[in-house]
């Protein structure tokens, strides 16, 4: 019997918002990753995500690393960054096979924090960039 995982995730990475995917008009606002005390954060419109304490807090798995160093949270997980970020689709498929999962519905992680920006046009550009990036991640010949 093969199963359906109704709620899996991909961890976004700097490539998600690279020139290849983010519209030219928004590249000066490109989300950046910073590291601090073994954890990593996205900086978007001068706000840090995830926001781990306080009202509306969120504890996202992204960014999974900074400067090539896995975060403290990432280091505790059994799977590779390549699988979590889908830079190696076969790594993810191996994890699914190990659990007899035939289909995994993949949701974003960063966008669980809402809103990322009060600029709707910029937000749309971020969604578009993510969609283009994920589309490429899911095509094996492009990974």
């Amino acid at each position: 019997m093969k199963y359906i995982d109704a709620d899996g995730h991909v961890e976004e990475c700097p490539t998600t918002f690279s020139d290849q995917y983010l519209e030219l008009a928004f590249r000066s606002q490109r989300p950046a990753v910073i590291g601090r005390d073994g954890l990593a954060y996205w900086v978007i419109d001068e706000q840090m995500f995830p926001r781990r304490v306080g009202r509306g807090c969120n504890n996202l798995g992204t960014p999974a690393s900074y400067d090539g160093i896995p975060t403290r949270h990432t280091a505790l997980k059994p799977d590779s960054i390549e699988s979590m970020e889908l830079t190696d689709i076969n790594a993810r498929l191996r994890s699914m096979d190990a659990e007899d999962i035939a289909i995994q519905v993949v949701y974003p992680s960063l966008f669980l924090a809402y809103p990322l920006t009060s600029n709707n046009t910029f937000a749309t550009a971020l969604y578009s960039s993510y969609n283009r990036w994920l589309g490429d991640r899911l095509v094996p010949s492009k990974t």
């Binding site: 359906i4 709620d7 995730h9 059994p78 659990e99």
Partner: protein, 46 residues
């Protein structure tokens, strides 16, 4: 349905839940099939 939340910090426990459901015991195999396959198929139109 079951979601592993793969990628999140708590997902390993959910994956074990899938295997527990698949093995059966406390619920019928037909109910397990609905949870692990039939229901998500219907929801997502797969």
């Amino acid at each position: 349905m079951v979601g592993t939340d793969y990628g999140h910090a708590d997902y390993s426990n959910d994956i074990e839940a899938i295997q527990t459901l698949a093995r059966g015991g406390k619920i019928s195999s037909s109910l397990g099939q609905k949870i692990l396959g039939d229901n998500p198929k219907r929801l997502y139109g797969l």
